[in-house]
């Protein structure tokens, strides 16, 4: 049985308004229910690529995109694509934990309320489910109506994860989610990712090669806007096929 990939990138070129090419002929296949890691040095184009999936790239004025980005087999850049619905199905967590001003409850229900879901019971059950999946339920269940800004860095980030999960997406994208977190919070986030991959497709840009090796089911190495190598998690970090990958993985540059 042939199961189509959850997300597929086909020969994508991305150019900024001033002419700089951020992505050059990028092609990828991402299967469901795994953690797909996109790693590489800074300014390799990883964030740009991530933002193509949920079309947050639309917010960059004057940029042009060539090629296709397929989600469940359909090009997200096709005419008539409902971008809002797309963003509900593909959630995103950013590097700096950004709770919205307001209470924890307001943060979690924001996306749902914008989608028109107002039923109190529905909201409550989603709050509990998403906080549990993000391993935050026990810590905040008694203070859902307190400001989200009072949480610690690690808690904020797990809140952001829960916030995206509350919409029950199919895909969860995490752009360097543990960059500012202490080791304990980092471990908690990585731990929850292992649980989450059973229900969601996860794409992640890691904080370090070590983190990538810890969590990746499959990984792709990016450099200067190009995909250099793609492989299984246990293979690409231990025995990379391409020299540049090996150089990066072993720390010869970074």
């Amino acid at each position: 049985m042939n199961i189509p990939p959850k997300l597929e990138v086909q020969n994508v070129y991305f150019t900024y308004a001033d002419g700089t090419e951020a992505l050059r002929n990028v092609s990828l296949k991402i299967d469901p229910f795994q953690i797909f890691v996109l790693f590489g040095p800074a300014r390799a184009g990883k964030t740009t690529l991530l933002r193509l999936f949920n079309r947050l790239s639309d917010l960059i004025e004057g940029a042009t995109v060539q090629g296709s980005v397929l989600f469940n087999g359909r090009d997200v850049f096709a005419r008539g694509t409902d971008v809002i619905d797309l963003r509900r199905r593909i959630g995103m967590v950013f590097a700096v934990p950004t709770p919205l001003p307001g209470t924890i409850r307001e943060n979690l229900t924001y996306g749902l309320r914008m989608a028109g879901i107002r039923n109190r019971d529905e909201l409550e059950s989603r709050i509990e489910r998403s906080l549990t999946q993000a391993a935050l339920w026990d810590e905040v269940k008694d203070r859902l109506d307190r400001p989200a800004s009072a949480l610690s860095g690690g808690q904020k980030q797990r809140l952001c994860i829960a916030r995206s999960l509350a919409l029950e997406p199919e895909v969860l994208i995490l752009d360097n989610p543990t960059s500012g977190l202490d080791p304990l919070s980092t471990a908690m986030v990585e731990e929850s990712l292992h649980e989450l991959k059973q229900r969601y497709t996860i794409i992640m840009v890691p904080h370090s090669v070590q983190q990538a090796a810890r969590v990746a089911t499959r990984a792709a190495f990016m450099l200067d806007g190009e995909i250099i190598e793609v492989g299984d998690g246990d293979q690409i970090f231990g025995q990379p096929q391409v020299k540049r990958t090996e150089d990066y993985v072993t720390g010869r540059f970074g």
């Binding site: 949920n54 947050l56 917010l59 004025e61 004057g62 809002i84 619905d85 963003r87 509900r88 959630g91 995103m92 950013f94 700096v96 950004t98 919205l100 001003p101 307001g102 924001y110 996306g111 914008m114 989608a115 400001p147 800004s149 952001c160 916030r163 995206s164 919409l167």
Partner: protein
């Protein structure tokens, strides 16, 4: 002369100059307060004028100014807010946007008497509203647009970009993002700008000269097509065109106008500082 000498002299001169700028401001206000306080009484503020304006009170003028300020806000706020949101959130970096900004800069520079002429030609005559609260509010409202647009735009832009990004990543539309994440947090700045703009409109004379103001009206205005008295115009007339008007009444009128305008400015400043302290980010 050594450099140290130059330094000391320069600083002394600059400081002196600044002080000389500031002292008259305080002196002016103090002088008006001192001269005018004597005329202020409950009757002055709430009664109608008698005896050729030399006795009684200036209540109709106060009321007129308040009515015009209300009218100005109704005309100005929706339009200014829309334009500010447009500039901050929707406008792309193209020629149209540049023209809009140019238009706003020019609106800000047009002399108030020219607004009066515009009001006369467009609202009083062309639209046939006659000299009326309607014509006056429209004129004042348009005149107040640039100030409110600028401050509102700045308030909107000061909301961090991250909130917009997060909101949209959670599936909110652009308007939803503006309505739920941007506007609520820009509100203090917007309100400050509105109040400042209104306080300026309240003190203006030239735009209402030909569009709404009257010196003596036997009855209070009852509809927007009526004329009304107004404080700035009232002050102008009793100071320059009514012989035998007691000085205390003139100073008293000036004081009332000054207090009205300054208290609005004060309210705006208080709102700005208090809201800034309560920021949740």
């Amino acid at each position: 002369m050594t450099r140290q000498h130059t330094q000391k002299i320069a600083v002394a001169l600059i400081t002196a100059s600044a002080v000389l700028v500031v002292i008259p401001i305080i002196a002016v206000i103090a002088y008006i307060v001192v001269q005018g306080a004597g005329a202020i009484s409950w009757e002055f503020l709430t009664a109608r004028p008698r005896n050729g304006m030399t006795e009684g009170g200036i209540m109709p003028a106060i009321l007129g100014t308040l009515i015009l300020t209300l009218g100005t806000s109704i005309v100005c706020i929706p339009l200014a807010l829309g334009a500010a949101i447009y500039l901050a959130e929707y406008a792309k970096d193209n020629r149209l946007t540049r023209w809009v900004r140019l238009a706003i800069v020019n609106l800000a520079g047009i002399p108030s008497i020219v607004y009066g002429l515009f009001g006369l030609g467009a609202f009083v005559l062309f639209m046939q509203f006659g000299t009326s609260i309607l014509a006056g509010s429209l004129t004042l409202g348009i005149m107040t647009l640039p100030v409110v647009i600028s401050t509102a735009e700045e308030a909107i832009l000061s909301v961090p970009q991250e909130f917009r990004l997060v909101s949209q990543s959670l599936g909110a539309t652009r308007w939803q993002t503006i309505r739920h994440q941007v506007l609520p947090h820009a509100l203090p700045g917007i309100i400050t700008g509105v109040i400042l703009g209104l306080s300026r409109a309240a003190g203006e004379t030239a735009p209402i000269l030909f569009t709404v103001a009257a010196f003596y009206l036997p009855t209070l205005p009852s509809s927007i097509s009526d004329q009304t008295m107004a404080l700035p115009y009232h002050l102008y007339v009793i100071a320059t065109q009514v012989p035998g008007m007691p000085l205390s009444v003139q100073y008293g009128t000036a004081l009332v106008l000054l207090l009205l305008v300054l208290s609005l400015t004060l309210v705006a400043t208080i709102i700005r500082t208090r809201m800034r302290r309560r920021r949740d980010w």
